[in-house]
Structure formats: C-alpha cells, structure tokens
C-alpha cells in the first residue's frame, strides 16, 4: 500500500467534526454565539485537515491510500478498515467543504435549539465522511445508517411546514432500501466464506470475487434498491422533493451536495466492481430509468411553483445524468459521472443556498412572490446567474465538463440513448431560465421585495468557494480528472475484461483487434462461476 500516512489521517478527518459535536455537549445552550463559533471552527478545521487528501494523494497508484486497518469485531471478521482513492478523496473534500458552507450559512437562519442543531450537523459530517472512507462493508453500512439519524432530526425539528411527514418519509424510504442492501451484503459475505472459508467484509477482497451470475443478479437488485433510493432514481425519487422542500437550508445543501452522492458512490464502489456481470445485464434497465429520470425530472421541475421544489426536481434530472454516465460503462462515461457528482454538489448546493438566502429574508418559497430581484439584489442575481449557467451546462463552467463526458461516453455505446438524454440540455435550459426570469427579471411588483438587502459578507463567504470551483472545473478540470484515472480504471477493469487503461495503450503495448463490446452479456455457466477468486482486482 503506497502513500500510507504516518498518522491516521482519515480517522482525523472523520472524527474532527465528532469532537466538535462532543465539545458542544458541554456548552450551555444559552451561549448561542459560542456554539456557533465552535461549530464553525470545527467545520473549518475539518476542511483543513482534509486538504492533505488533495495535496498528498498519489494520482498514479492503483493502491488504496492513507489506509488504516485494525480489528473491530474479530468474531465476524469485521474490521476498522479505511482508505481512499481519487474518487472517494474528491467526495470527502466535497463533504468537508460543503460542511463548512452549510454550517456557515446557518448562522442567522437557525435561532431555536441552536446547540442540538449544530451537534446534529457535525455528527452528520462524521457519518458521511465515514461512509466514504470505509473499506469494510459492515463499517460502511454502519455509517450509512448513522447518517440517517441526524438528517431525520434536522428535517423534523428545524424544517418548514410539512417537516414531520417529510422527515419520516426520508427516513423510511432510505431504511427500506438499506435493509434490503444489508441482505445483499450478507449474501456476498457468506458467499465469500463459502469459497474461501474466511469471514470478512473487506471490500478490496470482494472486488476480486467472482460470483455466479444468478447470485450477482439478486445481489445487484438488493444493492440497487439501497443505492437507487439514495440517488434518487426514478421512480424512487419522491422522498427527495419533500425532504428538500421542508429541510432547513443547510440540510438541503448537505442533502443535495453530499448525501445523494452516497447512492452513486455505492454503485461505483460496490455494485459495479463486485457484480460486474450483473451490472452489464442491468445496463439497459438502469439506463432507461436514468433517461426517464432526466426528462421526467426536468418536465416536472418546469411545472413547479415552489422554488426549492423546482431545484429538487432538477436534482432528479441531474442525478439521472450521473447514473447514465456511470452505466455507459465506458471510461469517459464513468469519469463524467464522477465529475458530474462533484458538479452537482457545487451547483445544486449553491442553488439551495441561493433559495435559502431569499427564504431567510422573505420566508416564502413561492416563485410568484418574487420578481425583479435583479434590481434590488444585483450581486445575488449575478451569483444566481452563474450557478444557473453552471446547472444547465454552459461551457467554461463545471456542468459542461460532466455533461459532455457523460453524453460522449454513452454515445459510443448507444446513439439513441445519447439522443434521448441530450434532450435534457434543452429542457434544463427551459426550466432554469424560466425560473430566472420569474424571480430575477421583470419589475419589483411585490412591495415586500423592495427593500431586500443584497448578499452580506457571510453569504458571500459561502458562495465564493462554489463560484471558484465552478469556474475552475469548467476551465481546467485536469487536476480533478487526473485524480479519477485509477479509480475509473479499477471499475472498468472489472466490468469490461477487454478494458485497457490509456497508459498501456499509449505505450502501444497491446492493441486489441476488435473494439470491446461493452454491452455483450456473458452469462456465466455454472462451472466458471465457481472459480473461487480471480487473482488480483487489477
């Protein structure tokens, strides 16, 4: 294992927010500003300690990095096993950054039960980071479930009108999915025992496992239910608009930017490499659900009168795009899918922040309540414009990089799929520009909007990193894409046996005579399927 830090970096990143949460327990609930300072401090600290993931990551190695490994529950083979690759390091950085932004955005928005609020947010951070670093399936599952609780309370306590319904819906939806997922995990666990005699939840070992097709098929379905609910894919998406609409701003931001990525992360980390043949078999199904999600989400977004719900449905559409790129099972598509996960975090996170800014001023999300805000809040309108363009994939901004890679990646697999998915670029422009027109353009008809203050310094601080990221990824995505090479190689090598990373091609070492048919479904005969373990994932 290369790039092993001399100290437990990942644990530090993971537990810094938790330390903050524990510290908050001992602060009087009446000293609210102290609580705010501590929470913000630990969020910033959490981001700072995660920065080595950017600077110290070895982009060339295929090994897991910053690995920590120790026994956890030896009797069942569960370990405290954490480590990252380029993909998860980017998602962790996204999580720690969005944590800072979400916590900073709550300063004046949350005035009740301040202490509990920040404790829940910090615990949520730990849960999310833990899920991204876990290389032990059981550990992952624990963090996966841990995340649910604080989010449930964030929506249920600090949410708006219909918060209890939304919170319970969010909780139950995810729980149902994850219970089925747990069955899938156990199936893999026992199958591994059957062929090797060892009990382990070690994901790196599962990545080398060759399961029979029938078992893969069922396990894929089980994982799919868990992850698809989280993404969310059509038709499991209906919890999302409710949860977003009723969640407090910071909750929506975290939910959109990071929590949804749990689903896509799960697919790329678990479903694809552990169940490659089943993945190939399910491609048409997942692709069509994704395409439906893209178009359906966009059209339903167009019909919304609630600003936040519109952004929520746009998330459904965008996450459909992410899933589409992933199930192209081409390196360009998978890379695009991962980049688009980051992009979605940046732009949709920013869009929810933007709704939060006016919601805090006006306490309404009705689009018709606004109009002409360009006049009274020009800076706000400018930020909103950039983020709108980012969301609809304008070149030079981040969204374009993801979309073009995804669509090019799916195009070489199936042109009809690409054509259907590309309608999203028209519909996306339609609903976002219409939203922009209804809120920002026109005259200030509503007297309540006449005196709205523009962005203050704290709000600028929340938007600035996102604006920088949007332009950076848009103009020079290379540092991000370079980090993904080996992660994508790992997945591709599993789902496509003829796959060869570019450096191997570049050296002219081996040139396959026929282009690999990505979509050919190899149905394992029983004999080959019993071959215990394929030597070395890659």
């Amino acid at each position: 294992m290369s790039n092993t830090a001399n100290f437990p970096l990942l644990s530090l990143i993971m537990f810094t927010p938790l330390v903050g949460a524990v510290l908050l327990l001992f602060v009087s609930k009446h000293s609210e500003d102290t609580i705010r300072w501590i929470a913000n401090g630990f969020a910033v600290l959490g981001f700072l300690v995660s920065l080595p993931l950017w600077f110290w990551l070895d982009v060339a190695t295929t090994d897991w990095q910053f690995v920590e490994k120790m026994d956890w529950i030896p009797s069942i083979g569960a370990q405290y096993f954490v480590g990252v690759d380029g993909f998860s390091s980017l998602l962790i950085l996204l999580a720690t950054l969005m944590g800072v932004i979400a916590i900073l955005s709550s300063w004046t928005a949350i005035t009740e039960r301040v202490k509990e609020y920040y404790i829940f947010l910090l615990v949520l951070q730990t849960g999310m980071i833990g899920a991204f670093v876990a290389l032990d399936f059981l550990l992952f599952f624990v963090f996966w479930e841990v995340m649910l609780v604080p989010m449930y309370f964030l929506i249920g306590i600090w949410g708006s009108s219909n918060r209890l319904y939304s919170a319970i819906k969010f909780f139950l939806f995810t729980l149902v999915g994850s219970v089925v997922m747990l069955l899938g995990i156990l199936a893999v666990y026992f199958y591994y025992h059957e062929v090797t005699g060892d009990y382990t939840f070690d994901i790196t070992k599962f990545h080398a496992l060759n399961m029979p097709f029938d078992l893969q098929w069922w396990v894929f379905l089980a994982f799919f239910l868990g992850f698809a609910v989280k993404v969310p894919m059509f038709p499991f998406h209906t919890w999302l608009p409710d949860a977003h609409t009723d969640a407090p701003t910071a909750g929506s931001v975290i939910l959109a930017a990071v929590l949804l990525k749990m689903g896509t992360y799960g697919f790329i980390r678990f479903s694809l490499p552990i169940l490659p043949e089943a993945t190939q078999a399910f491609v048409p199904w997942v692709v069509w659900l994704s395409i439906i999600g893209i178009i359906y989400g966009a059209l339903v977004a167009m019909a919304q009168r609630d600003w936040k719900r519109l952004v929520a449905y746009s998330s459904v559409s965008h996450m459909g795009m992410v899933m589409l790129g992933m199930f192209a099972l081409t390196p360009v598509g998978v890379t695009g899918s991962i980049v688009q996960q980051i992009n979605h975090g940046v732009s949709t996170g920013a869009l929810f922040l933007l709704v939060g800014v006016v919601y805090e001023r006006r306490h309404t999300r009705e689009i018709s309540e606004y109009g002409g805000l360009s006049k009274v809040m020009p800076a706000y309108a400018a930020v909103f414009l950039v983020m709108t363009m980012s969301s609809i994939g304008l070149p030079t901004l981040n969204g374009f990089i993801g979309e073009i890679l995804i669509l090019q990646g799916i195009f070489v697999v199936n042109k009809v799929w690409a054509a259907f998915a590309a309608t999203g670029i028209v519909l996306g422009a339609a609903y976002m520009l219409w939203l922009y027109q209804r809120t920002m353009f026109g005259t200030v008809d509503n007297p309540k909007n006449e005196k709205l203050p523009d962005l203050n310094l704290r709000e600028w601080a929340t938007f600035t990193p996102l604006l920088i990221l949007a332009v950076w990824i848009g103009l020079y995505p290379k540092p991000f894409l370079d980090r993904l090479d080996t992660s994508v190689d790992r997945v591709m090598a599993r789902v496509n046996s003829a796959y060869m990373p570019l450096n191997a091609l570049g050296q002219g070492a081996v040139e396959p005579n026929t282009p690999p048919k990505v979509l050919t479904l190899e149905v394992d005969s029983g004999d080959t399927a019993r071959t215990p373990v394929r030597g070395g994932a890659r």
Binding site: L172, W239, I404, L405, K415, V426, P477, V518
Partner: protein, 698 residues
Amino acid sequence: MDFIWLIPLLPGVGAAINGLLGIRYFSKVLAARIACATMGAALLLSLVAFLELLGLEHREHVVTLAHWIPPIPLETASGIGAFEVPWAFRLDPLSGMMILIVTGIGFLIHLYSTAYMDHEPRGGYVRFFCYLNLFCFFMLTLVLGSTFLVMFVGWEGVGLCSYLLIGFWYHKQSASDAGKKAFIVNRIGDFGFVLGVFLVFYTFGTVDFREVAEAASHMPVEVAGFGVVSAICLLLFVGAVGKSAQIPLYVWLPDAMEGPTPVSALIHAATMVTAGVYMVGRNAVLFEHAPMVMTVVATVGALTALMAATIGLVQTDIKKVLAYSTVSQLGYMFLATGVGAFAAGAFHLMTHAFFKALLFLGSGSVIHAMDEEQDMKKMGGLKYYMGTTFITMFIGAIAIAGVPPFSGFFSKDEILYRTFLSNKWLWGLAVVTAGMTAFYMFRLIFMTFFGDYRGPGWKHEEHGGHAEEHGHTWHGPHESPRLMTVPLMVLAVGAFAAGFVGVPAALGGGNAIEHFLEPSFVATSASHAGEAEHAVAHLSHGAELALMAFSVLVGLAGISLAYHLYVRRRGQADRLAANWSVAHRVLLNKYYVDEAYGATAIDGTMASARGLWTVDRRVVDGAVNGAGWLTRALSWVSHVLDKYVVDGLVNLVGWICQEGSYLFRRVQTGLIQNYAVATLFGVFAFITMYLVARYVGV
C-alpha cells in the same frame, strides 16, 4: 503569432474587470474606456496576426495552451481512441477574416455604444459594456477555436451574451421573454450540434477540425447513400440552423430586436448569427462529402431567404425589417455554402457584416433621434434632420440591394452565379429574393427619410408630457453625436469598398478573397490534382455578365417599385395592402409561425410538464403514500385485533376464571349436607351415564 490566444482573452479581461469591480465602483467613462481599450488592443493584435498570416506559407498556425480535457480512453468506430480536448486556437484565412470582422466591427460598435447607451444609469451602463466585452471574448473563441468543443465554448458563450443583452432591459417582460426564447431555441439547435460532435469523435477519433478534415478527405463522397458523414453534417447543420436563424428555428431572431440597437448590430447582424455559416464553412470538407446534406443546406437557405424577405416587405418596425433582412441574407449565405461556394458564402458574410451593421447602427441613430420610436409610420422626412445618418444608411441600402460597385453587389452576385450553375430553381428563388430585398430596404429608406415628417411634435425648452416619461426633454429629431456618426461613416466606407476584394474574373478582377480563403476549405493532403474534382462548371464571360446585368436590373426594379409606392404615389401601398388584405395580414403576422409553435411545442411541453407533475403526486408518490397508508391501516387492524381479539381472548380466559370462581365459590358453603347431596347427585349421574352408554352400545 503565438499570441493569438490573447485576442479573445483581452475583451474577456475587460469583461472581468468591469463585471467584478466596474458595476459597483467605476464611473461610466472609466468602464467605457476599459471596454473600448481592450477591444482596440484586440483589434490591433488581430491586424498584426492577420499580416503575419499572409506571410505564412501554409496559411495556418495553431497554438495549444493546455489540456482542457486530458485524454481518456474511449472506443470509436475504428478501435480504442482517446477522448481529449486541448485549449487550442487556430489562425487560418477563414478565422483570420473572422477576427478582423469581429474586432473591427466590434470596436466600432463599442465606440458607438458609449454614446448610444449614455442615458442608462451608471450600473446598467457598465453592465452593458461588461456583456458586450464578454460577447467579443466568446465570439473570438468561437472563430479561433481549433476543435469542435473549443468552438462550442464560444458557440454557447455568445448564446449566453445574446440572452443577457436581448434581455438587457429585463424589467420589460417582452425583453426577458425574447432573451429566454433566443437561448432555448438555440439550445434546440445545440442538441443537434453536440450529437454531431459526438458522432464526429466516434467516427474520426478526434474533435480537431484539421484532423477531421484530413480524415474525411480520404472517405468516399456519399453520393448514393446517406452515410455517417451525411449524418454528421445534418446534425451539425441543425446547430447552424439554430444559431443562424434559419427555417425552422429562425423565430428567435426577430424577437431579439428587444435588445439595445448596438447589440442588434453586433450580435444579431454582423457576428454571432453568422456563426452557423462560419461553422459550415469550417467543415467544408465534411460537407462536400455529403452532397445530400448540401442540397438540404442550399434549399433551407434559399427558402429562408425568400420567406424572410416576404415578411420584411410589410413590417413597419424599422428594426424588424432589418431583422428579417438579416434572416434573409443569412439564407443567402447558406445557399452559397450549400452549392459548394464556401468562399462566396464567407465573402457575403463579410460584406453583410459591414452593411448590416451600418444599417442597424443607422436605425439606432434614427431611434435615438426619434426618442425611442421604432415605427416607420411615425417617421418620415428625417433626411432634413440627420444628414449623416441618412447618407450612410443610404449607402448601406444600396450595398444590400446589390447595386454595383457597392460591396453587396459583388458578394451577392457571386452567390447568384454559383447557384445558377448548380440549381436553376434555387437561383430563381434567390433572384426573386434579391428583388424583394431591394424593395423592402428602400421602402425603409423612403418611409424613414423621405416625405413629410409624421412623428410626434415637440416643444423647445418645455417639458412636454411625452418627454417627461423618459426623464429628459426631447427637442425633436436631431443628428446623433460624433461618437455615433463616425462609426457609421467608417462602416459606410466598408459597405462601399469591401466588395473590391472579390471582383470576379468576368469584370477583370482576380477574386482575391476566394483564393485567399481556399486553404480553409480544403484538406491539406488533397493534392492539387484533386482540385480538378472541385473545379466547377463555367459559363462564358458574356453569359456571366448577362446574368449579372439581370440581377442588377431586378434590384433596380425593386428600388424603383419602392420609390413608386412610397415616394411618388404615397398611399398606393396602403391601397395595395387593403386589396390583398389576407396576404398582407399573413405576412404582417409572420405566417403565424410563432403562434403555431406556441400551440404545439410550447403548450405541449407545458401540458406534459403539468401532467407529469400530477402523475408524480398522484401516482408515483401516490404509491408511496398508498404503501404508507396501507401500513397504517394494517397496523390499525392489528391494533384492533390485538385489543379485542388477542387481548380479548386473554381477558376472556381471565374473565371466565373469575366468573367461574364466583360461581363455584357459592358451592363452597361449608355445610356437610350440601356436599352429601352433591355427592349423591354425582353418583346418580355416573350410574345414569353408565346405563345409557351400555344401552346405546358404545
């Protein structure tokens, strides 16, 4: 020449400075100076680059700055390739000509705007220049981009700027509607364009223009069947149709006139809308391998030219006339490219940039003079008030009408000639269009500048009600300030003289521009022997001159008809309109195409949006809530069962025990005789049972 990337970047920097700092802090003068200075510097660099280009043997120079998208393996039609896009810029004759047009006309329009937009409040004024600079940044990126995707950066970027500038006066519903419409209609075109680019990569394994052209030149010309190159070209052409406002996606351009007039001149006449023509020309090698698509291009071009010209005949809004004229002239350019005369198309693009920018800026000067009035019915006689504007616009009108030796004559005639050689039907359409063009353009000149003044009255030194609305006193029509008229004069010189670079051989010229542009339209690897293939049929000089004379006569006929109807016998036009009222109304309402789109595409989309929203709530979420309800119902049933049945049974047992014990407690009297009687009864009972059992025989 490695500095060519600075040419787009300079206005980009100007936009960034004005956008980040200027809108909040700068004065009008400072912002305008920054904008004009960056454009001026870009113009100078373009001139230097162009001169250096003339000295290059291969007439091509590519500058690669950095990786944009680093190589990622991806399968293509011919094995595994690498998808990669560098930030690369290409200077060749075609892009060299384009950067001169964009920076030259762009600079003049920046100057003009400093005066035209002067009545805007400071913030709006700076914002305007920020957008205008940003537009030039993207437009220059578009023309200098060396790959499809870098071009697409500019392609989408100019769309954004167009959106922002059309909707510049965003408080007006019509303006923000028009901006949105422009963006979305363009996105429909982009849908085709990106699919075309994907197919380009899949087919050729690269998105670099030069590499694609080289690869395509080795492929067979798809004469017989509709092959992959034809598919690529058709998809790319969909993008061009959106950007360059051709049938059926032209509807956004007339609405785009909601933007300030300098914007109409720069974006919606001289530069952005020609991007589609430029893109087709940039891929000339591809299109030449797709003759079927070429026919489509030519036909769409000719039909658009005619259709837009007919609408232009009856419009009375001065900018709308010019807008339809632009659509029509763009149709001409596509007609040229469609018949394989790429150089002629680019030539017309260049002359059109001069005279149409001139006409738009002139109309802006008129609108300025008339205090924002755009209806030509309320103008008239303005030549007495604004001589410079009149003369320059007149030159522009002559140029577009195709009167020799003005620029439009040479470029238009080249197109007509090449069309005649290729397809007589399309030539017929184009000639009719030429006559209409001359007519509606001089109708505009005559309605605006000739006859009696028909506008509102004005009072000197008094605050009339009309003036107060605009916050300043209007002193009647007046010539515009020097900053506006000087660009007009420069452009008028261009509109007159720009054609001399393309004098055809029949008139003793060398058609210099065609030879200059030639390297951009052929593959480098194509040998000179191969050029014979491309050589087109020729007419004798005499026949060519006869054709030329004919089209000039048609143009003159259009002009004299306009003179007849609008100067000599005023009122004749209204009578004509009344006699042909149905046709007139159809034209006035632009063939009701907007209404048709509204009723089908837009209403259809909105209806399905609302329908799906209902489905989402009732069906998809309904299933979820149904499951929740079912769970609750089941739990209620369980509750009832539990309370009354399960627990009921338990309680029943208890109750029975209790009641039973009450009952049997009575028996426990403690009196021995009672027990004895009970025992006796018991003995009798047993004996009876025994006897009965025996009797029955069990």
